[in-house]
């Protein structure tokens, strides 16, 4: 199952690294990343595959939320289906 991770917050060193380390720990594979910094705001969208994750989905959400708090940015994960439903026929 694919999911989209979105990270939004004030840019600083280590946001990408922090998220990637969390994903590595729970064995979530990154498929694609797009990232921009506009007016010092960091925005990243990441397509990931969670099928081989070593924890249940709610634990992935919690792990990312925790990391978001540590980094002072908003991190959320949502199933890709919700975006596909809205933007793809």
């Amino acid at each position: 199952m694919n999911a989209i991770i979105t990270v939004v917050g004030k840019d600083k060193v280590g946001i990408m690294a922090g998220v990637c380390v969390v994903l590595q720990k729970i064995n979530v594979n990154i498929l694609d990343i797009s990232q921009t910094v506009m007016q010092n705001m960091f925005t990243m969208n990441m397509l990931v595959d969670v099928k081989d994750a070593n924890v249940e989905y709610p634990a992935i959400v919690d792990a990312l939320n925790e990391e978001g708090e540590r980094l002072g940015v908003s991190i959320r994960i949502q199933r890709e289906d919700i975006f596909d439903a809205m933007h793809r026929i």
Partner: protein
């Protein structure tokens, strides 16, 4: 991969424009619960509801977490109790309302609908018992919702039922006088009631429905409002197109959630209800959409036309997005639940008469309207008859959910709390309709040709 703009658009809708799934409603048939002993029948109902809906709330929360979209309400609708309990040898049907209420509490849902009767052509024994039990049932339960269908395009209007419902609404208000007549917020009088409506207070699981079905109601007045801000001053064709595109996106989300929920709960996917359902929150108002379309205050001249266009465009956009559309589908105009409607009513621009005209072109009818506490039962019946006539002649669902707030008068307002909001007390005409209502009998079904 999805592009960044698309992802941000979706997140914006959820975070800033109040996009949500308004309700996942599980419809459960209680026809298998019939038993002559009322206590056994009520126990069977409780057991069946709690068994089928055991995981409803948890599943809703799981999906909410995975998809990242709020699912505001998880609810249950059941077979009209007048049918399910008819074989019981008891006059008072409150026992079944209590069983429903207990089941709702056990399952963790916030409303359960179906304390209902369908009497468009006449009463059965069970129908009369149920209607007579409504005031007590609504006063002594927390989550039970009740509805009565008094008319249809095919059967006409049962004016005896209309009269009875005027009295029932008054009695319900008096029985819940300590809460400004709150019981009436859980009581709807329908014409052409639909069997698969997921929205309260009028949800019930119709007799043509399967054993168990999942119906989903989407919402998104805020999303439509924001989309329209981007087409200021443009002609109506463009406004309609913009609404259609937005409704399509909203409904696709509803369809996804409905399929996912029905799969996980092992229930049939019923319908997606394409409604624009407002909440009292700022930025989640249907009235503000109408004002964005160009009327200064909702309720002034032009409002009906703007609403007609909005309602039609929402349906056109939504229909293609879902494999099965049903319920009440259209824009709701509940006064107390819509911040813009409340403001317009307080200004005196939005009146009962204008609301009646608006209900000719949009979903449902006179919804969540507070009127003075001294409004007579006959006047309420006459309001119901007018609204039912609109539904009957136009082949659409109409409804009345009106609260004659005890001790309150024009200028006061009543606080319902939560999604039910705040209702300013609106004036009714002082001239009576007693002789009209007391005639009783049936208004015959209308002709379906020579439509002028």
């Amino acid at each position: 991969m999805l592009n960044q703009h698309e992802i941000i658009e979706t997140l914006n809708m959820i975070d800033n424009q109040h996009l949500d799934i308004r309700t996942i409603t599980m419809g459960i048939s209680l026809r298998s619960c019939a038993h002559p002993d009322a206590k056994i029948c009520a126990t069977k109902m409780y057991d069946k509801i709690t068994k089928y809906a055991e995981n409803l709330v948890k599943t809703g929360e799981d999906i909410e977490r995975e998809m990242g979209i709020p699912i505001i309400n998880k609810r249950i609708s059941v077979t009209p109790i007048a049918i399910a309990a008819e074989s019981c040898e008891t006059e008072d049907y409150t026992i079944f309302a209590k069983a429903m209420d207990d089941a709702a509490k056990t399952c963790g849902v916030n409303f359960i609908g179906g304390f209902s009767a369908l009497v468009q052509k006449g009463f059965t024994i069970g129908d009369r018992r149920l209607i007579n039990s409504i005031p007590e049932a609504l006063a002594t339960t927390d989550f039970v919702c009740s509805s009565v269908n008094v008319g249809s395009t095919k059967a006409g209007i049962n004016m005896d039922a209309v009269k009875l419902m005027g009295q029932t609404i008054k009695n319900t208000a008096l029985r819940t006088a300590d809460r400004d007549g709150f019981g009436c917020a859980k009581l709807v009088v329908f014409c052409n009631a639909v069997e698969d409506n997921p929205f309260m207070a009028g949800a019930f699981h119709g007799v043509g429905e399967p054993e168990c079905a999942i119906n989903v109601g989407v919402s998104g007045p805020g999303v439509v409002y924001n989309a329209l801000k981007g087409v200021k001053g443009q002609p109506f064709d463009i406004v309609a197109e913009t609404i259609k595109k937005t409704a399509f996106k909203i409904t696709r989300m509803g369809q996804l959630i409905a399929c996912e929920a029905s799969k996980r709960l092992g229930a049939e996917f019923g319908i997606v209800d394409l409604s624009l359902a407002p909440t009292p929150a700022i930025g989640d108002s249907v009235a503000r959409i109408l004002e964005e379309i160009g009327v200064d205050v909702c309720g002034t001249h032009g409002t009906t036309a703007a609403l007609a266009m909005l309602n039609d465009a929402v349906k056109k956009g939504g229909v293609m997005a879902s494999s099965s559309v049903g319920g009440l589908s259209g824009a709701f105009i509940p006064v107390s639940e819509d911040e813009g409607m409340i403001a317009a009513a307080e200004k005196g621009v939005l009146t009962l008469d204008k609301l009646e005209a608006m209900t000719c072109v949009c979903s449902v009818g006179l919804d969540m309207i507070a009127v003075p506490g001294d409004t007579s039962a006959e006047t309420i019946s006459a309001i119901i008859a007018d609204e039912a006539a609109i539904g009957m002649v136009n082949n659409k669902t109409t409804a009345v959910r009106i609260i004659p707030a005890p001790g309150k008068t024009v200028g006061d307002s009543i606080e319902m709390g939560g999604l039910l909001g705040t209702a300013p007390v609106m004036p009714v005409h002082n001239e009576g309709s007693v002789d009209f209502v007391n005639r009783g009998g049936r208004i015959p079904a209308p002709l379906h040709s020579l439509r002028n």
